[in-house]
C-alpha cells in the first residue's frame, strides 16, 4: 500500500527529506554528508573482528554494548586507497532501513567534521558522471560556504543485499 505512491508524492517526500541537518565527514579530500536522523552515534575506533567470506569493504564486526554490528569501510566501498587508522578515524553508527527491520551498521570514516543545516535550495541534483561513477547512492550536492558536500543516501550506499550478495566471492 505504502509502496504504490504516486511519483508526485515521492518527489515531494524526497525534496523534504533533502532539507535538513546533515552530519558531515571527510574521506580523502572530499566532504560527505549523511542525514542526521540516520546517525545513531559516533564512536572511536575499536577492535574489529574480521568476518570471512564477506566483501572487501566489510571490515568485520564490533561489539557495540552487547550488540554485534557490521562495520563497513567507506574508503574501501568507494574504491579509495586504504590508509592506516589515525586518532581521528571514527565509526559512525547509522540506521539502515531494510525490508523487515532497521539495522545498525557502522561506517569507518577519516574524520567527522560538523553538523550542518543545509537548506533544500542549496542542494543540487547529482550530475551524471557517466559510466565510471555510480551516482545511485548520491542524494545530491550541497553548495555550502565550506565547499561542496556530497550528500549520501546511506540506505543505498549500504544496501543489505550488496553485503549479502558477495558471499563466496571473497
Amino acid at each position: 500500500m505504502t509502496k504504490d505512491k504516486s511519483p508526485m508524492d515521492q518527489a515531494i517526500k524526497e525534496t523534504s527529506i533533502k532539507n535538513g541537518k546533515y552530519l558531515t565527514f571527510s574521506l580523502e579530500q572530499e566532504e560527505y554528508g549523511i542525514g542526521i536522523l540516520k546517525v545513531k552515534e559516533i564512536i572511536g575506533m575499536m577492535p574489529i573482528t574480521s568476518v570471512p567470506r564477506t566483501p572487501r569493504f566489510v571490515k568485520g564486526v564490533i561489539n557495540l554494548r552487547g550488540k554485534v554490528i557490521p562495520i563497513v569501510d567507506l574508503r574501501a566501498k568507494f574504491g579509495m586507497e586504504s590508509i592506516p587508522y589515525t586518532e581521528r578515524t571514527c565509526i559512525i553508527v547509522v540506521e539502515i532501513d531494510s525490508k523487515d527491520a532497521t539495522v545498525l551498521i557502522g561506517i569507518v570514516v577519516d574524520a567527522v567534521s560538523e553538523v550542518l543545516n543545509i537548506h533544500g535550495d542549496e542542494i543540487e541534483d547529482t550530475p551524471a558522471f557517466g559510466t565510471h561513477l555510480d551516482t545511485e547512492y548520491i542524494m545530491g550536492m550541497a553548495k555550502t560556504e565550506g565547499g561542496v558536500k556530497i550528500l549520501l543516501n546511506i540506505d543505498r550506499v549500504l544496501s543489505i543485499k550488496e553485503i549479502q550478495n558477495i558471499q563466496g566471492v571473497m
Partner: protein, 839 residues
C-alpha cells in the same frame, strides 16, 4: 427588580457579618441563607462573576465552621474583604441595564412556552436544580429537600409528556439524593452529571430527536453509592430503562449513511460473535484463563460501543450487561462456571437474532421491529449472576451442615427461627450455643463455604521484543561480569565481591532464559487437529498420542519446530501409515499410530515422531537416488546416510503426488529448517515396522557451549556439540594426497584436514602440522579435522546474530562476545563441510 433585592440583601448580609462574633463561629450560620439568596438572584441576573464571589465567601464560612475558631482571625477578615468587595461591585452596576437584561431573559421564555410548555418548564426546574447543587454545602438538609421537590416536579412533568428516559433518570437521581440525606454523603458529582445528561436529553427532545447515547455510566455513578445489596431494585431499574425504548422502535426509514454503517457493523458483529462462541468453549476447559476471557470481552465491548452509536438499543443493552459480567470475571471476582458460559452463549444467540432483525431491516429499507425478542429476562439473569457470583455465590451455611449430615432440617429451622428473633447473632453462634454442633464443625463448614480461590500466579503480558532484550542484556551482564572477574583476579577482596555478583548475574540470566520457555504442548495440540484432518482426507484411521508434552522449550525454538513437524506428520500420515487393506495384510491393527515424544537430553530438546507404518524402503531409496543421479552407483553407505538421501533436495519416493505431500519438496525443507536453528534431524526406520524421525534442537537458541580456538590472529568458537576430540598429531599421523589433500590419522581412521585460513581466505601461510593441534569435528557421521594453533578454553557463549546483512554467511553460525569484549566468530561445522566439498 432583582437588582434591588441583591442590594438590600447584601446590605443586610454586611450588617449580619459585623454583628457576628469571630469567636463564636456558630453565629456565622445565620449568614448562610442570606448568601444563598444573593447567589440565586445573581445567577438569575446572569451575574456569574458575582455569583462566584458569593460562593467563595460561602466556602470560607464552611471552613471556619469546620475547623473551629483557631485560625479564624485571618479567615474572618478575608470574609469581610470579599463581601465588601462584592457590595462595591454590585453598586457599580447599572441597575437599569441589569433589569433590562433580566427582562429580556424573561420575555424570551414565553416564546418557547407557546410551543412547548413542558420543555421550558422542565428547563426552568433543571436550572433551579443545578443552582441548588452549585450552592450546596454538605449537611444542608433543607437544600436537599428542595432538590427532591424539584426532582419530583421534573418527574411529574416528564411523565405527563412521554419523556420516559428523562423521568427514569430523574427517579434514579432522586433515589441518590435521598441516600445523600440519609447517609450524609456529600459527593454531588453524580447529581451534576445527571443534570448535564438531563439537559442534553431535553435539547434532543426539543428537536424532536430520540436520545440514543449510552448514559449507563452516569447511572452507574449513582448506583455506586446506593446500597448494592438489593438486586431486585437494580433489575427493576433495568426494566424501567427498557420500557422507554418501545416508543422509539416504530418503523422508520433507514438513511443511506446509516445503511453503510449498519452493514459494516453487522458483518463485524457476526464475525465477533462467532469467535466468541469458539472462545467460550475453550473457556469451559480452562475457566481461569484471563486471555480467553479477554478475547470474549473485547468483542462484546465493541458491539456495545457501536450499537450504542447506531441506537440499536436492545443489542446495546444486552451487550453491555454481558460485558459487565465478563468484566467482573476478568478482574477475578469469580471463576467462570458452566452456568455463566451457558448464559453468555444464550446472550450470543439473542444478539444474533437481534442482528438478523437489523439485517432484515437493511434489506427492506425500514428498520424491522424487534419487540418480540425479549432481552430483559436475560439481562436480569446476567446482572443477577454478576452480583451473586461477585458476592461469592456462597452456599448457605445451614445447607452445608445438612449436606454433611451434621444437622437435621428441623434443627436448622429452629436455629433459623432463633436467628430471626435475634438478628445480630450468627447462625453458627446459635448452633454452638444450642449445643447442636461443636465449634470445630462450624469452623470447618465456614471454611468450606468460602472456597479458597485457586491461587493463581498473576501474569503479565510482555512483548517478546522486551523479553529478547532482557535476555540480551542478561547475556551482556554475564560478559561484563566475567571481564570484571578477569581484571580483578589479583585482589582477593574484590574478587570475592565479584564472585558474589557473578552468582546474582547467573541467577538473573537463568530467570531471563526461563521466561522465554514455554511448554511444547501447544504445538503438539495443533498436531492432533492436523492428524484428524489428514486421516479423514486419506481414509486411514490414525491415532496420535504424545509423551512429555509439558517439556519446556525456548519460545523461538517452538516456532522453529512447528513447520518441520507439520511436514513430518504429513509424511507419516501420507506415506508412513499404510492404507487399511495393506495394514490388515501385514497383520497390523487397523488403526495406525503416531506417537510424539518430547524430552530433554544434554542441553537439547529432542522431539521424536514415531509411526508404525511401513517404514523406509532402503532399496527403493537407493534406486531412486541413482536414477536421479544423487549417487553414482554401488557406494558403501551406512543406513543413516541412505536415509539422509531422502532429505536431499528434489527427492521424493512417493509414487503418487497427493495434495498432502509428495511434491519432492519435503524433507529437505524440513532439514534446512531444523539445521538453521542448530538442530539435527535423524531418521531411524525398519522396513515394515515404522519410521522414527528424531529432531534434536538446542534448548535455547541464545547460548552455546563452545571451545575457543586460535587460528593465526583470529579466534573462533567451535560448538562443543560438534567436537569429537582434539589432539596433537604425532610423527607419521599426517599424510597428503598428491601433496594437496591433507589427512590425519586418528586411531586407524583417516580424517581429511581443513585449514580454516584457507577456506576463509584470511591468510595464505601454510603452517607446519607439527606446531599445531587438530580438532576433530563431526557432522552427519562425517568427520573432519580442523587445524588450529591453540586451544584457548571452553565456555558458554551468548550467540549474537551478526545482523541481517551477515546472517547467512556459510561456515559462520554467528558471533559471540569474548571475555575481552571483542567479537569472536562461532563456526558452523556443517557449513564448513559444504564449503570444503564444493572445492
Amino acid at each position: 427588580m432583582p437588582y434591588e433585592i441583591i442590594i438590600s440583601t447584601t446590605e443586610s448580609l454586611i450588617s449580619e457579618l459585623i454583628l457576628s462574633d469571630p469567636n463564636k463561629p456558630d453565629s456565622l450560620k445565620r449568614l448562610l441563607p442570606i448568601l444563598k439568596c444573593i447567589h440565586t438572584q445573581c445567577t438569575k441576573a446572569a451575574l456569574n462573576f458575582e455569583a462566584k464571589k458569593i460562593l467563595t465567601a460561602r466556602h470560607i464560612i464552611d471552613s471556619i465552621l469546620k475547623n473551629g475558631p483557631t485560625i479564624n482571625g485571618s479567615r474572618f477578615s478575608d470574609l469581610e474583604r470579599i463581601l465588601s468587595e462584592f457590595r462595591d461591585q454590585i453598586k457599580r452596576l447599572d441597575p437599569n441595564e441589569l433589569d433590562k437584561a433580566i427582562e429580556m431573559e424573561v420575555t424570551k421564555k414565553p416564546d418557547d412556552e407557546t410551543e412547548n410548555s413542558e420543555y421550558s418548564e422542565l428547563e426552568v426546574k433543571l436550572d433551579a436544580l443545578s443552582m441548588l447543587i452549585a450552592g450546596f454545602c454538605p449537611g444542608e438538609i433543607p437544600d436537599l429537600g428542595q432538590m427532591l421537590n424539584t426532582l419530583d416536579d421534573l418527574i411529574n412533568i416528564s411523565q405527563d409528556s412521554d419523556l420516559k428516559i428523562f423521568c427514569d433518570i430523574s427517579k434514579c437521581c432522586k433515589a441518590y439524593i435521598e441516600e445523600m440525606t440519609l447517609k450524609n454523603l456529600d459527593d454531588t458529582n453524580p447529581v451534576e452529571e445527571v443534570i448535564t445528561l438531563l439537559k442534553s436529553i431535553l435539547t434532543y427532545s426539543k428537536k424532536g430527536e430520540a436520545f440514543t447515547f449510552d448514559y449507563s455510566d452516569v447511572l452507574e455513578m449513582l448506583e455506586e453509592n446506593l446500597s448494592r445489596d438489593d438486586i431486585k431494585e437494580q433489575s427493576a431499574q433495568i426494566e424501567k430503562e427498557d420500557t422507554d425504548h418501545t416508543i422509539q422502535s416504530a418503523p422508520e426509514k433507514i438513511s443511506d449513511d446509516d445503511m453503510e454503517i449498519l452493514t459494516d457493523f453487522i458483518s463485524e458483529a457476526e464475525e465477533n460473535l462467532n469467535t466468541i462462541e469458539v472462545s467460550l468453549i475453550e473457556l469451559e476447559h480452562d475457566p481461569e484463563n484471563t486471555d480467553i476471557i479477554d478475547d470474549i470481552f473485547r468483542p462484546f465491548h465493541t458491539i456495545k460501543g457501536v450499537s450504542g452509536f447506531l441506537s440499536l438499543t436492545k443489542i446495546n443493552k444486552l451487550a453491555h450487561a454481558t460485558e459487565n459480567l465478563l468484566d467482573s470475571a476478568r478482574s477475578g471476582d469469580f471463576i467462570i462456571s458452566h452456568s455463566v458460559t451457558d448464559t453468555i452463549l444464550a446472550s450470543v444467540d439473542t444478539l444474533k437474532a437481534l442482528l438478523d432483525r437489523v439485517k432484515q431491516g437493511i434489506q427492506t429499507g425500514h428498520s424491522a421491529s424487534d419487540d418480540d425478542i425479549d432481552v430483559d429476562a436475560l439481562r436480569r439473569h446476567l446482572t443477577y449472576l454478576q452480583t451473586s457470583l461477585t458476592k461469592g455465590g456462597k452456599e448457605p451455611l445451614g445447607q452445608i451442615f445438612v449436606r454433611k449430615k451434621e444437622l437435621t432440617y428441623s434443627d436448622l429451622d429452629q436455629a433459623l427461627e432463633i436467628q430471626n428473633k435475634n438478628s445480630h447473632k450468627k447462625l453458627g453462634e446459635i448452633l454452638v450455643e444450642e449445643k447442636k454442633l461443636a465449634p470445630e464443625q462450624v469452623a470447618s463448614a465456614l471454611m468450606e463455604q468460602s472456597p479458597v480461590k485457586k491461587k493463581m500466579d498473576v501474569q503479565v503480558k510482555v512483548s517478546t521484543q522486551k523479553l529478547d532484550d532482557l535476555v540480551d542484556y542478561a547475556g551482556e551482564l554475564v560478559i561484563a561480569q566475567s571481564m570484571l572477574r578477569q581484571q580483578t583476579q589479583s585482589d582477593a577482596l574484590i574478587s570475592k565481591t565479584v564472585s558474589q555478583l557473578g552468582q546474582i548475574v547467573n541467577n538473573m540470566q537463568n530467570i531471563a532464559m526461563s521466561m522465554r520457555m514455554i511448554p511444547i504442548k501447544a504445538t503438539f495440540m495443533k498436531m492432533i487437529r492436523l492428524v484428524r484432518d489428514l486421516s479423514r482426507k486419506s481414509g486411514k484411521e490414525i491415532h496420535l498420542s504424545m509423551t512429555g508434552e509439558d517439556t519446556e522449550i525456548d519460545r523461538n525454538v517452538v516456532d522453529a519446530l512447528y513447520e518441520p513437524m507439520v511436514h513430518m506428520i504429513r509424511n507419516a500420515c501420507d506415506h508412513g501409515i499404510e492404507a487399511l487393506s495393506e495394514r490388515s495384510e501385514a497383520g497390523k491393527p487397523a488403526q495406525g499410530n503416531i506417537h510424539l515424544y518430547a524430552y530433554h537430553k544434554g542441553g537439547n530438546i529432542v522431539i521424536e515422531i514415531e509411526d508404525d507404518g511401513k517404514g523406509l524402503d532402503k532399496d527403493k531409496i537407493l534406486e531412486k537416488a541413482q536414477s536421479t543421479g544423487l549417487i553414482q552407483g554401488d557406494e558403501q553407505m551406512t543406513d543413516a546416510q541412505v536415509f539422509d538421501l531422502i532429505m536431499q533436495p528434489g527427492f521424493s519416493t512417493a509414487k503418487q503426488v497427493t495434495d498432502v505431500s509428495g511434491r519432492g519438496v519435503g524433507m529437505d525443507v524440513v532439514k534446512d529448517g531444523i539445521e538453521k536453528f542448530r538442530g539435527h534431524l535423524s531418521i531411524e526406520s525398519k522396513k515394515g515396522k515404522g519410521t522414527k524421525f528424531i529432531i534434536s534442537l538446542p534448548l535455547t537458541l541464545a547460548i552455546i557451549d563452545g571451545m575457543l580456538v586460535g587460528v593465526d590472529d583470529e579466534r573462533y568458537v567451535i560448538p562443543t556439540i560438534a567436537i569429537q576430540k582434539a589432539f596433537k598429531p604425532g610423527q607419521g599421523e599426517y599424510f597428503t594426497v598428491e601433496n594437496k589433500g591433507e589427512m590425519v590419522k586418528d586411531r586407524g581412521s583417516l580424517i581429511p584436514l581443513i585449514r580454516l585460513n584457507e577456506i576463509y581466505g584470511t591468510s595464505n601461510n601454510k603452517k607446519s602440522i607439527d606446531a599445531c593441534l587438530v580438532v576433530v569435528v563431526e557432522s552427519k557421521e562425517e568427520k573432519r579435522a580442523i587445524l588450529i594453533d591453540e586451544l584457548l578454553g571452553k565456555d558458554e557463549y551468548v550467540i549474537k546474530s551478526l545482523g541481517h546483512s551477515m546472517d547467512d554467511i556459510q561456515g559462520i553460525a554467528g558471533g559471540a562476545i569474548m571475555a575481552d569484549g571483542k567479537v569472536g566468530l562461532i563456526l558452523d561445522v556443517d557449513g564448513i563441510f559444504s564449503i570444503v566439498s564444493q572445492k
